[in-house]
């Protein structure tokens, strides 16, 4: 227990270290890129937490946007700390409602319903200009006085929180139940796993973490329109990042976000314009064909090759002989 806690703290330090280094070097462009990357990593972690219960969402832009809009609109009323807390709690509440609505939906129906939900929320923003500014957008208070290095530190802190939350749900207490729900919900229910409660819990937590990512994003420049946060891109990105990095891990989505952004920036330098979007699509296809289990899957294969045979393989070898 103690050792795993130490490993985890080491992991969080390893996540935070590159950000510290960037802040120290004071490269404005790299800092902006890093902020964007970390925000997509937080969103991807949120998506992954939900997917561990077998719920493949294509509507996380909704929580991303609600979190951003919520904290932006509530901060002037409640102050920064309570405003963010309220905005993120609002996401949790909406997620619980959506979770209850989609509870009985299987596979494709679930995915289509979440996509429809995110589109409906975008419309809701457009038809309530009095409250949400409609299509003209809002001007959220900026994080850290608009200083990019401080913003990077703040977003890094948020990522470490998200990683901690993700690890809680990969821990002894939730992991077996979550994966059992994903693989065989009927068996899970029959074995006494509170399927409904855990699915909705996963939804609430996932929604709140996505809301945290959205709050960070909206607080960067002090100006946000609905098309910035409710676009399909934010629905697809967490799925792409998580699958590329590796599902059911904390490190996978983070590494996935970094690698995807790196490829994207390289493509932007090389081809420019919308060309990088072509590379984005091509990278997704190549990864799925070549590395269906993502970078984490590749890592596992490499580790297995270089590690001396552990307990499991030795037992297997003994059984085989």
């Amino acid at each position: 227990m103690n050792r795993s806690l130490l490993t985890r703290l080491g992991l969080y330090a390893a996540i935070a270290a590159p950000s510290m280094l960037l802040v120290a070097t004071d490269q404005p462009f790299l800092i902006q890129v890093a902020i964007g990357t970390l925000i997509s990593a937080i969103l991807a972690l949120a998506w992954d937490i939900l997917s561990r219960t077998g719920q493949v969402s294509l509507g996380h832009a909704a929580f991303f946007g609600i979190g951003g809009y919520g904290s932006a609109l509530l901060t002037p009323v409640l102050g920064p700390v309570l405003g963010w807390a309220a905005g993120i709690l609002l996401c949790g509440l909406v997620a619980v409602l959506l979770g209850a609505v989609t509870l009985r939906l299987r596979r494709l129906y679930f995915t289509i319903a979440t996509l429809s939900f995110s589109l409906s929320i975008q419309v809701l923003i457009l038809v309530t200009p009095g409250l949400t500014g409609g299509s003209t957008g809002i001007m959220p208070p900026v994080i850290a006085g608009g200083s990019p290095p401080l913003q990077l530190l703040f977003v890094t802190g948020c990522l470490v929180v998200a990683a901690g939350v993700s690890d809680v749900f990969l821990g002894r207490r939730f992991r077996p139940a979550f994966f059992m729900i994903r693989n065989n919900p009927e068996l899970a229910a029959a074995s006494g796993v509170p399927v409904t409660r855990l699915k909705i819990l996963a939804f609430a937590v996932s929604g709140m973490v996505a809301g945290l990512a959205g709050s960070c994003y909206c607080g960067l420049y002090g100006y946000v329109i609905p098309d910035d946060v409710f676009t399909t891109n934010w629905n697809v990105l967490p799925l792409a990042v998580t699958v590329l990095g590796g599902m059911d891990t904390t490190l996978g989505p983070i590494v996935g976000a970094v690698v995807l952004r790196l490829l994207e920036e390289l493509a932007r330098q090389a081809v420019g314009g919308v060309g990088y979007q072509v590379v984005y699509g091509a990278v997704i296809i190549l990864f799925i064909v070549g590395l269906p289990e993502g970078l984490a899957g590749l890592g596992r294969v490499v580790l297995r090759r270089f590690r001396p045979p552990g307990e499991g393989t030795r037992i297997k070898a003994r059984l085989a002989s």
């Binding site: 493949v56 596979r107 409906s120 314009g273 072509v278």
Partner: protein
């Protein structure tokens, strides 16, 4: 007032036929392979561009354009299926989803680079004469769309229910393992359903060019509606998709006509209706409940 209502309803119904045409091929493919194919929208877009180029460059009739698009997209679908989708079919659901999303992003942005994101209008002379019913007029192209949309739908229904391949498709989708044991070449059946879906996408692309504008992003707008439609009707249920299209097009059309500024968000109402329907019937209006 009543004339305006009838006019709006008729226009909405012709949109319904267009949506139905897009959804027809999709629901056939989804019903058999259980893959949400996001690239279906881009196939429709490619069909629209092909019809448009054939008309503006070579003066070929849109009737010919539709047929040519159907053939071209059937070939492209076969290439896509053999190239990588067959491999993806054996992977998890999220990988399948992301694979078709990646394909959609790839085709969409290639089209933007090649043809610019600007919308174009085909401006072909109407394929059929304008219908005039006591003050209510329906443009000939809308009638053509309704006609072809319905033909496409009947064709999908007939293929699925009254042909040997259709029987194999239904069997293979219910239980691929058992179907394989029964001597059905499941991979081939899946490919065939994908190719037929692609052909339908190409033809419906021609319809898009007739009554809407031709633009790279048109596919995304249409495919999202098509997903709502097939979920409304029940995945794989072809008549259900027809009713789903009518529900979606009517709510969208009537909202944008009769609600101030409803044009930009009419489709949102349709998605709310979809969510409400799924709460009551988790497998759509006509889907088999408790899908695998």
């Amino acid at each position: 007032m009543t004339t305006a209502v009838i006019q709006a309803v008729l226009l909405a119904l012709s949109m319904a036929a267009l949506y139905a045409a897009v959804a027809a091929g999709l629901t056939l493919t989804v019903g058999v392979t259980r893959i949400i194919n996001f690239a279906h929208g881009e196939f429709v877009m490619l069909g629209a561009f092909l019809t448009y180029w054939l008309y503006t460059r070579f003066g070929l009739s849109p009737w010919f354009g539709m047929a040519a698009s159907g053939v071209a997209l059937a070939i492209l679908s076969a290439a896509v299926y053999r190239g990588f989708l067959a491999r993806v079919l054996k992977q998890d659901e999220h990988n399948q989803l992301l694979a078709t999303l990646g394909l959609s992003i790839l085709i969409l942005n290639l089209a933007i680079i090649a043809w610019s994101p600007d919308p174009r209008v085909m401006q072909a002379p109407p394929l059929l004469p304008t219908l005039n019913l006591g003050g209510v007029t329906v443009p000939g192209n809308n009638i053509a769309v309704a006609l072809v949309g319905l033909i496409l739908f009947v064709a999908m229904y007939a293929i699925r229910n009254y042909t040997r391949y259709g029987t194999q498709m239904r069997f293979a989708s219910d239980d691929p393992t058992l179907a394989a044991h029964a001597g059905i070449n499941v991979d081939r059946v899946f490919e065939l359903s994908f190719v037929i879906g692609g052909a339908a996408a190409g033809v419906s692309g021609g319809l898009v060019a007739l009554v809407l504008y031709v633009q790279p992003t048109i596919g995304v707008d249409l495919v999202i509606r098509a997903f709502a439609i097939i979920a409304l009707g029940g995945l794989g249920n072809i008549p259900g998709a027809l009713i789903g299209s009518a529900i979606l097009a009517l709510t969208e059309g009537l909202t944008s006509t009769f609600v101030p500024q409803g044009g930009s968000w009419g489709f949102g109402i349709a998605f709310v209706i979809l969510l409400l329907v799924l709460v009551v019937r988790p497998s759509g209006l006509f889907g088999k409940q408790a899908h695998p």
